[in-house]
Amino acid sequence: MRAWIRQHAQSLRGTLRGFARAPAAAALNVVAIGVALALPLGAWVLLGNVARLGGYVAAEPQLSVFLATDATRADAARIEAALAGATAVRRQRFVPKEDALADLYRAAGMREILAALGSNPLPDAVIADLAPGDPDSVQRLAVDLRKLPKVELVQLDAVWLERLAALLRLGQRAVAVLAALLAVGMVAVTFNTVRQQVLTQQSEIEVSRLIGATDAFIRRPFVYQGALMGLAGGLAALGTVALSVHLLGSEVGRLAATYGSDFRLALGPAAEIGMLLAFAGVLGWAGAYLSVSKHLRKMALP
């Protein structure tokens, strides 16, 4: 066991020495892998932020029932009663057309337009705050409400959230496909880099085999090289995306503030980032493993 650990430590030291001997080549490989990984990582971070943004906006989905202009308070009360019986409704409030007009007056630039109209064009409305999580029952409630007398329009603002969720799912699929393609690309990059390294160390490999080195012993420094390259490439990608998030973050925050939101761009959960880095390391390891194994199989010397 000790000998095994010692051999691993020795291989790791050898790999690090190899990087130190040719730092420019190592850096170029890391940059190539980093750029390849930055694209799916950036898309993943973007999707995470869009999903979070959806959560911000959709903290409380609403259902708005607009009445006909000639509706009475009794008509509104019937609607309130229907909403009160629905489990998806958390709370509701009646918004008389006068209050709606007053709100509109307060909005910048609307005063002159409304003054020109002469009379209040807005209807009475009942606004219900919905509990998230049961879109089907909300849809059924909306259909029932539309059948009530004096109901002009039932507006369910969960619809766009569903569209957003569908778009996010599509985006996630696209990122997964992109990540898979680039993972294959990264394995190919590592495979080729390690292949060149193997060719330059051909005589050492041959001598090692002749004096009793196992394939695992020969393979070890190369797979360390692949794994470290993958990990360093992952870190480079993460650095690139983190820098982008930092550069865009203040502008996005300023834009969100104009909508009264404290939304900020974020990289994502640390655990997921850690897993991504580990995945990059595993991809590098796999590329190197395949490369050395292929070479060892092709060697004339058993």
């Binding site: 000790r2 000998a3 005589s203 004096i211 009793g212 058993p302």
Partner: protein
């Protein structure tokens, strides 16, 4: 039990050439033997069958009682660690110094660094290269390079030492020095098998000679060392 036993060994290459034909001979444990014959007689092939660099087409090659032909590929490295191999083309790593070249077999076995360093120095000392640890192979003479190969072969304390034409490119004085080193290892119990066509060396040192001709064992004779 012989350290090396060839029993009706035939080695036929893919092009049909038979390098060995029904070759049968044995080298006893602790023996110093020469394998001789003209160029193309099958000496190198015979030596390559012992550490399973080549596999016999038919017959059995026993090394310390172990049938090399029946060995699984994963077991070959462990067989090779029990042997000391000196190659005709030396196979030194020219980007490593003398110390690092000799260290390689110990690194393969996972020897602790301090013990490994001690054994490397001892091996270099035994072949007369003490103080040349940092020398690169290119800076060594032909004889010194061959000594370095021997140090690498013996550093793992093998029970059998095999050398393929170790004196081929050396002058007679350097060649004598090399064979003296082999003899010194043989005297402490290491079985030594040296392939050579240098009859002067054979006459001077051999206790046993296996003569190959066209892949067949032409003769195995005991000879007395005169040196």
């Amino acid at each position: 039990m012989p350290a090396i036993h060839f029993n009706r060994v035939t080695k036929r290459y893919a092009d049909g050439f038979e390098a060995l034909r029904e070759a049968t001979f044995a080298v006893e444990a602790g023996e110093f033997a020469f394998l001789t014959g003209h160029s193309g007689a099958g000496k190198t092939t015979a030596l390559r069958l012992i550490p399973a660099i080549e596999r016999a087409t038919s017959g059995t090659v026993l090394v310390n009682g172990q049938n090399v032909a029946a060995l699984r590929t994963v077991a070959i490295p462990y067989l090779r660690r029990s042997l000391g191999l000196v190659f005709q083309d030396q196979k030194l790593l020219h980007d490593r110094n003398a110390f690092e070249n000799v260290m390689l077999p110990l690194a393969v076995c996972g020897e602790p660094p301090r013990e490994a360093a001690r054994r490397v120095r001892a091996a270099l000392d035994k072949v007369g290269l003490a103080g040349r640890e940092r020398a690169m192979p290119i800076a060594l003479s032909g004889g010194e390079q061959q000594r370095l190969c021997i140090a690498r072969a013996v550093v793992n304390r093998p029970s059998i030492l095999i050398a393929d034409e170790p004196t081929a490119n050396l002058d007679s004085e350097a060649a004598l020095g090399i064979v003296e080193i082999f003899r010194a290892f043989n005297q402490v119990g290491v079985t030594v098998l040296v392939a050579t066509h240098d009859s002067a060396l054979i006459e001077r040192f051999a206790t046993s000679v296996v003569r190959l001709a066209h892949g067949r064992v032409a003769a195995k004779a005991a000879a007395l060392a005169t040196a």
